[in-house]
């Protein structure tokens, strides 16, 4: 996943309302009107959030000119999760090695001090 898109995706996901919208869309597509009701937000406000999510590739909009239902793009979400998992594994492994290496360093240090 390109950094630029990832940047957009992370920024899109940083907002709690947008995460809630995604959670709602996980149970099926919905129109702006349908989304506005449970969130107690105006339709223009919801539309704005949907544009951010769409630009980040997290949702797509239907062609129906009237409803333009929003639907979740699960692949994009999975790509973000993959990114997070791969780096988390990378750093955690490094930290495990650092912990072992520090034990060696400590032994050397106390050995030097003993001489």
């Amino acid at each position: 996943m390109a950094t630029e898109l990832l940047d957009l995706t992370f920024a899109a996901l940083a907002d709690p309302t947008r995460r809630a919208i995604l959670a709602r869309l996980a149970s099926g597509e919905a129109s702006v009107k349908e989304l506005a009701e449970p969130f107690a937000m105006s339709q223009p406000a919801i539309s704005k959030h949907l544009r951010v999510l769409e630009r980040a590739g997290l949702i797509s909009r239907g062609r129906d000119a009237q409803r333009r239902p929003a639907r979740l793009e699960a692949q994009s979400l999975a790509a973000v999760a993959d990114y997070i998992e791969s780096y988390r594994a990378f750093w955690e492994e490094g930290f495990v090695r650092l912990a072992a290496y520090l034990q060696e360093l400590k032994k050397e240090t106390s050995h030097d001090a003993g001489q």
Partner: protein, 152 residues
Amino acid sequence: MTQDSSNGIVIERVFDAPRDLVWQAWTDPAHAAKWWGPGGLKTRVDELDLRVGGAWRYVMTGPDGAEYPQHGVFSEIAPPERIVTSAAFEYGPGMTQMAVMTYAFEDLGAQTKLIMTHTPSEAFDEQMIAGVTAGWNANWDSFVDYVPTLVG
């Protein structure tokens, strides 16, 4: 935690060593090459210029000889407490991922807690980094657990 470690991918670990030693293991090129990255890869430290605006460049080599360079520029150095740097991870032609890394070294006496935050970003200058850090309020680690519930 109240600091910005709640942003980005956060890894923390308590090391059984005093803070000065952990700082040394992180910042001394000879030490860094010994533990950086996953096991099975060799790391060569080409540059580690520990000052604001200074560059670092590590090259990891896989068992097949393929090289994976990582590099960045430090934007904050506060010995022995904190390091902030940009980071570019090169996986191949046109496959570079960029991030802002923050390392916080907490003194616990005989032990040290290291908190690392990885925030994907195009932002490379200090001002941008500050903006990114301030603007992000989601915890991506919990997000990983959250994604499967969305994807179903």
